[in-house]
């Protein structure tokens, strides 16, 4: 008889990693110095693995606000928002966030994970279809599992695949496209312009999970939709407080009716204790600072650019990221752990990301930065990465002669590729499509047109002949030989011609239609 615990005791990965000394997870931090440096095992370590993008977690103003809330409201709400767990603080934060995000309403939930669970489980019904990016955050996937909707997952940022799924879906069903704004492990953006375009074409709703984008992207820090200038077309936007907002919790913002429905109907909200007063107050203070100090975002993106280009100049691959999430690809899983360990030993905290979070053979060290990192700290990180990268043969011994600089997602760098410009892209792709003529086309032409085409062909041939190169002559002289080599193909030529001709006459109605 099977025991449910069997899989736990049979799970070897942890034991192997622990035995080889390469186990990188659950590292306990003993103290934090202005967030950018932490103490682990009594050692000071530069933290480049935190999501505290704006460096507000260590900000004295935020800390003080949290203290104040504890003094006023205590340490917990001891209940659900629906019943006894709503404080004036919660309502203030919701109003402020709705205003900040330009939405009708917002709802704060105890964690970011729960926010996605609540939204998905709340709004998805039995007859709905949800389209989700394969690399979406786990909370979205689990949320979708809780709802009863049909799930269609499209390949990461593959808009053709998404369109195909949308085409195949029941046109009468309710549809939701849900995607991460910034993908958490590889730092790339979703193709929101195309998603919005498809959503409008197939009458679907759009939700972005802006956990890593809120406070970071866009001129005011409102996230991916603001960056792309598509806020009006994005129906729901989700964010968390554990990243830029220096707290814990999440927010979902959108139309009042939707938010109100989630608030009353979704079990992850209704049956869970509300955000603690300290967390709400910290998030509120962080929001104040995010609104008042845009220079933090600018600094963060400067740092991101510096690090991307720094890594790339050494020969590292930072992938398609355009954000402060800077993945450094290592490839092999064990090498990744070894690199992580060596970096850790010289005082740099990174996050190793291995399959299944990424594809096999694409293990990476995820680094992410704070606006409060000093240039000295960053230079030290780069220096150690270069040294260890070379030692482990992740990068070559000498720097490559050139690299492609990153195009950081700064506000204003993205120009809306509207319908017109997409048409143009399609145009250049199709430019060479109509070479040559079919028999049918020729049959439709007037004798004058046919003559013109023939003269045109002579003109082109004359031009080519006038421009013959010595190499071309050589090629021409070998042409008979090549023909001889391909003679088996030519032997079929009469058959092919016969077939073509038959088709041609059939189509052109020389025989009476049945």
């Amino acid at each position: 008889m099977a025991d449910v615990f069997d899989k736990c005791s049979n799970w070897k990965d942890y034991k192997i990693a622990k035995a080889t000394g390469l186990y990188p997870y659950f590292k306990a931090i003993e103290a934090s110095h202005a967030s950018t440096e932490v103490e682990i095992d009594g050692k000071r370590i530069i933290m480049v693995g935190s999501n505290n993008y704006l460096g507000l977690a260590g900000d004295p103003r935020v800390k003080e606000a949290a203290h104040e809330a504890i003094r006023k409201f205590g340490t917990t709400c001891s209940g659900s928002r629906l019943l006894n767990g709503t404080l004036s603080l919660h309502e203030e934060l919701e109003h402020r966030l709705a205003k900040f995000l330009n939405r009708e309403a917002a709802l704060v939930v105890s964690t970011g994970f729960q926010t996605n669970l609540a939204t998905m489980a709340g709004i998805l019904g039995r007859h709905d279809i949800v389209f989700s990016d394969r690399q979406n955050h786990a909370s979205l996937l689990d949320g979708i599992r809780l709802g009863y909707a049909t799930e269609k997952r499209y390949r990461h940022n593959d808009m053709e695949h998404l369109e195909k799924l949308l085409q195949d879906a029941d046109p009468d069903a309710g549809k939701l496209i849900v995607t991460d704004g910034v993908f958490s492990m590889e730092g790339d953006l979703c193709n929101l312009p195309k998603i919005v375009e498809l959503a409008q074409k197939y009458k679907a709703r759009v939700m972005t999970d802006d956990a890593h984008a809120m406070g970071v992207l866009g001129e005011k820090g409102r996230g991916t939709a603001e960056y792309f200038g598509l806020e009006a077309q994005t129906d729901l936007v989700m964010g968390t407080f554990s990243k830029s907002f220096a707290s814990l919790g999440g927010v979902i913002a959108g139309p009042f009716d939707v938010i109100n429905y989630i608030k009353h109907k979704s079990r992850p909200v209704v049956f869970s204790a509300s955000m603690t007063p300290a967390a709400v107050a910290a998030a509120l203070k962080a929001l104040d600072i995010i609104e008042a100090e845009p220079q933090r975002r600018a600094r963060l993106l400067d740092i991101a650019e510096k690090m991307h280009n720094g890594f790339r100049a050494m020969g590292f691959d930072t992938g398609v990221s355009v954000t402060p999430v800077v993945p450094v690809f290592v490839g092999d899983q064990v090498k990744c752990f070894r690199m992580w360990k060596q970096l850790f030993e010289v005082g740099i905290f990174t996050n190793p990301v291995i399959p299944p979070a990424v594809e096999p053979g694409h293990a990476l060290l995820r680094t992410s930065y704070m606006a409060t990192h000093t240039d000295e700290q960053l230079d030290r990180v780069l220096e150690q990465f270069e040294r260890i990268g070379r030692k482990l043969k992740v990068i070559p011994e000498t720097r490559p002669t050139s690299y492609t600089p990153v195009k950081i997602a700064r506000p204003g760098t993205y120009v809306i590729r509207n319908e017109a410009s997409q048409r143009w892209a399609a145009a250049s792709a199709g430019l060479l499509a109509d070479r040559g003529f079919s028999l049918e086309q020729i049959a439709r032409m007037t004798p004058g047109e046919v003559a013109n085409k023939l003269f045109d062909a002579v003109e082109t041939l004359t031009w080519r002949a006038a421009n013959l190169q010595p190499d071309d002559l050589k090629r021409l002289s070998t042409a008979p030989l090549k023909l001889w080599e391909k003679r088996s193909g030519i032997r079929n030529l009469p058959g092919v011609l016969l077939e073509k001709g038959a088709n041609f006459f059939m189509k052109n109605g020389t025989r009476p239609e049945a």
């Binding site: 195009k407 250049s428 060479l432 109509d434 023939l454 003269f455 002579v458 031009w463 006038a466």
Partner: protein, 395 residues
Amino acid sequence: MIPASVLEGARARHAVKPAADVDIAPVRTTSERDAFVRFQLDHYRDDPNFVPPIVAERRDFVDPAKNPFLEHASLQLFLARRNGKIVGRIAAIDDPHYNQFHNTEVGFFGMFESVNEPGVAAALFDAAAEWVRSRGMKSMLGPVNLSTNHDCGLLVEGFGSPPAMMMPYNPRYYPALFEATGFRKAKDLWTYELSTSVAPPEEVLRAAERLREEGVRVRPLNLRDLRSERRILKQIYNAMLGRQWGFVPMSDAEFDFIAERLRPLAVLRSELCFIAEVDGEPVAFSLTFPDANVGLKAANGYLTRFGLPIGLARLAWATRANDRLRVLMLGIKPGFQKRGIDAVLYTETLRAARALGYVGGELGWTCEDNHLMNRALESMGARRYRTYRIYERKV
């Protein structure tokens, strides 16, 4: 002094709105591309000074499969139509080599033709600007067809005669169209006219003589080994222009592409192309060609008519009677400039041209702020002849 931003704003307010009834469409098919090329011939039908390019050549020129420039650069052609009739055309160009070389975010446009209506021109420019902007560019330079290594600039002074070979030509109203749609001057390019009957100044002759004594050897192009000659030219070309405005280094394929077009002319009159060597090391070259435009004008855009080589025959016939030259380029390696090597090349060219019976020709282009070159040309008795202008606009 008015700040530039204010001027920019004022210009934008006064800028012409695109005409509403004009439909701008990207060129999608080969037949549309054909129409794009042939529109130029229709457009200049009544202009006696226009020299029609060979249509087949232009078609290859904008074909990514044929033109090596388009291996790295991207090009989008647009046609403006009103009631189905073509009224204008423009090409938008994204040349990453240029932006890498100058570390800029500049897009280009070129092959611009339009009827005399600011609304049509504005619509065309807006289409090009939007395409260029969609590729992340901040401003747009032009006209260049399709890079500064090909013909470029808008003729603003010196109308009234056919253009020299590989120089653009346009109606008189184009500068007004550009200025009405928010463009401002980026740079002027000058060409010079020189008659072979003008005797070179005394000091030029003396300088030439001195250099010859110092061991600067000038030799005509060696036709037997054009391949290695080409390598020499390319090396000097890329070394010399490196610091110049608008320069973008050419790949081998691009250089060969242009060289192949010029090869018949070089073979025809190889006496006019010189390479200067100091102690056996090639340091400078001067390329002068018979002005092919005389022949091209006779061909009227087609090598054949009704399948017969009528154009080709006309071209050959007109070329026989050609007495004009184009001094395409004079290049000196950095470090050998200001030593009078240009004077030697110049006197040699003049001597050869006279002997072959040419009466004069056009030199250029040079940048308006290339004082070294401009002074040298003027001191040789050349007269400023035409002004071409490169415009710029924010996108």
